[in-house]
C-alpha cells in the first residue's frame, strides 16, 4: 500500500469507496455547503489578489519599457557608419530588448521638432552626438548593464535613470511578496476549515472507523472515502471560485475600460489568464481537499 492509498483495487472496492465519499457529503449537507463556500470565498480573494498583482505587474512592465537608456558615442568618431558599427559591441552586452542607432542628424531633427526652431539658430548638428537608444529586458540589472556599456570603446557616456528603475523593481517585489503571503495565508485558512469540516463528519463515524481498524482495514482504505469527500468539495469550491472571479473581473474591467481611467490603463483581458487560473483554482481546491481529508482522519488511524 502506498501512503496516499492509491493502489490497484477491485471494481467493487472502488465503487464502495466512492459511494462512501458521496454518502458523507450528502449526510453532512450543511457542513459540506459551508466548506465549499469557504473555499470559494478564499479562492475569490486569492484570485482577486492574483489578478490585481498581474495587472500591476503588466502596468509596471509597460512603464519600464518607456524607461530608455541612451548611450552616447564618443565625439572622436565623426563618421556615421563607423559609429553605427558599434552596434555589434553593444548587443554583446546582453539584457537589451531593443537597440536603435540614432545619428546626430536625426537626433537634431527630433530635437528641433520638439522645440522652437529659433532656439537652434546658429547651432549645427555637431553639437549632437551619435547615440544608441536602448531598452532593457530586466531593469533590475540596469546598473550592471550601464557599466558594461560604458566600458565599450567608443561609448562616451551612458544616461540611465537607475533610481527610477530601482523604484519600479521595489514596487514589483513588494506586490509579489504581499500576494504570495496572502495566498499562503488563505490556503492555510481554507485547509484548516476543510480539515475541520471533515473532522466533524468523522466524529459521527468514529465507531465505524474503530471497527474498521479492529477488523483489519488498511489505513489507506479507511482514509480514502474522506479523501474523496475532500477532493469533491475542493474541486467544487475551486470551480465555483473560478466562475465567481471570472464574473467579477469581467464586470469590473468592463466598467474601468468604459470609464475615463480606461483610456490610459491597459488591463489584462480575462481570457489570457483563464486557463492558468482555472488550473490553479482546481489545483488548490484539490490540494486543500485531499490534505484536509488526510489531516482530519489522522488521529483515528493511530490506533
Amino acid at each position: 500500500m502506498t501512503g496516499m492509498g492509491i493502489t490497484v483495487m477491485s471494481f467493487s472496492k472502488i465503487t464502495y469507496l466512492l459511494r462512501e465519499g458521496f454518502r458523507s457529503i450528502r449526510t453532512h449537507g450543511f457542513m459540506s455547503f459551508a466548506s465549499v463556500t469557504i473555499i470559494t470565498a478564499c479562492l475569490i480573494i486569492m484570485g482577486s489578489i492574483a489578478l490585481l498583482s498581474l495587472n500591476i505587474d503588466a502596468l509596471i512592465k509597460d512603464l519600464e519599457q518607456q524607461n530608455e537608456v541612451v548611450a552616447f558615442v564618443d565625439d572622436s568618431i565623426e563618421d556615421e557608419a563607423q559609429a553605427s558599427a558599434l552596434q555589434t559591441s553593444i548587443q554583446q552586452v546582453g539584457n537589451l530588448s531593443s537597440v536603435e542607432f540614432v545619428s546626430r542628424t536625426s537626433a537634431m531633427d527630433s530635437f528641433m521638432s520638439k522645440y522652437d526652431d529659433r532656439l537652434m539658430e546658429g547651432i549645427d548638428e555637431t553639437v549632437f552626438r551619435h547615440r544608441f537608444v536602448l531598452h532593457l529586458e530586466d531593469i533590475s540589472l540596469m546598473a550592471e548593464t550601464k557599466a558594461k556599456l560604458e566600458a565599450i570603446d567608443g561609448i562616451a557616456k551612458v544616461n540611465a535613470h537607475i533610481e527610477y528603475a530601482n523604484r519600479f523593481v521595489r514596487v514589483r517585489n513588494i506586490v509579489t511578496v504581499i500576494s504570495l503571503i496572502l495566498t499562503a495565508v488563505l490556503t492555510f485558512v481554507s485547509f484548516f476549515i476543510m480539515s475541520n469540516t471533515i473532522k466533524l463528519t468523522t466524529y459521527g463515524r468514529r465507531e465505524e472507523i474503530a471497527i474498521m481498524k479492529m477488523v483489519g482495514a488498511t489505513n489507506a482504505f479507511i482514509r480514502t472515502p474522506f479523501v474523496i469527500e475532500g477532493l469533491i468539495l475542493g474541486l467544487l469550491g475551486g470551480f465555483l471560485g473560478f466562475l465567481a472571479v471570472w464574473g467579477l473581473y469581467t464586470a469590473l474591467t468592463g466598467n474601468i475600460m468604459n470609464s475615463l481611467t480606461g483610456s490610459f490603463l491597459t488591463l489584462i483581458p480575462f481570457r489570457t489568464v483563464m486557463l492558468p487560473l482555472l488550473v490553479a483554482f482546481l489545483g488548490i481546491g484539490v490540494l486543500i481537499g485531499v490534505f484536509g481529508g488526510v489531516n482530519a482522519i489522522r488521529n483515528y488511524l493511530k490506533v
Partner: protein, 230 residues
Amino acid sequence: MVQMQDVTKIYDSSGTVALDGVNLTINEGEFVFLVGPSGSGKTTLMKCITGEVRATAGEIVVNDFDMMKIKQRKLSKVRRTLGVVFQDYRLIENMTVYDNVAFAMRVVGAKGKNIAKRVPYVLELVGLEGREKRFPNELSGGEQQRVAIARALVNNPRMIVADEPTGNLDPVRSLELMLLFEKINEMGTTVLVVTHEKELVNAFSRRVITIDEGRVVSDDGDGYYSYELQ
C-alpha cells in the same frame, strides 16, 4: 497462537506498571479464560495482542507476527487473523444485522459474491437466522453480542479475542454465549475469553490463566477460577 515472554507495559502518561514480566503461550486451537480483578492488567494484555497497545519490553508473537517490531500500518495484517468481541458489542446503530457483519468483509476488500455467501452462513452459526434485517436496537443484549461474534468470525480469523463478552448479560444468556464460544472453538478457532465471572469460568473445564498486578499468578489446565475477588 500467542507467545509472550517477559512482557512489560508501563504507561508513559501515568507511569503505571500494567504488565510486569508476563510469560504465557496460547496454542493454536486452545480455549483459554484470562481472569483477574479489575485493574489487574487483563485489558492491557488483550490490547497487546490486538496491537492497540505496544508493550514497553519483552517479546510478543501473535499468529506469526512479531508485535514488538511490526509497523503501525502493518497492524491491519495481524488484525485480519483476529476476531475481537467487546463487552459493549460495538455495533453500528444505523446498519442492519446483515450489514454490520457484511461491513467487516467489505472493509477488508472482500468480493460481493463471497460476502453474499459467507454472511448468512455465519449468522446461522451464531443463531441469528431471520434477524438479518433488524437493527441493533431492536435486539436483546444477547442477540447483539451474537451479531458482534458473527462479525468477529466472518473473516475467518485464527483466533477470537473476547473482552468481558458477558459483562452486560444475565447468567443464562452468558452461559449460552459461552457455549457458542465453545462451539466456535470446536470448529478449530483459538478462543481467548477475558472475564472476571467466577461461576461462568468454573462451569467450563478449560485452561484458566489468572493475572494480578500485571503478573501471571496461576495458569491451571483444570479450569478452576482460584483467584478470590476482592
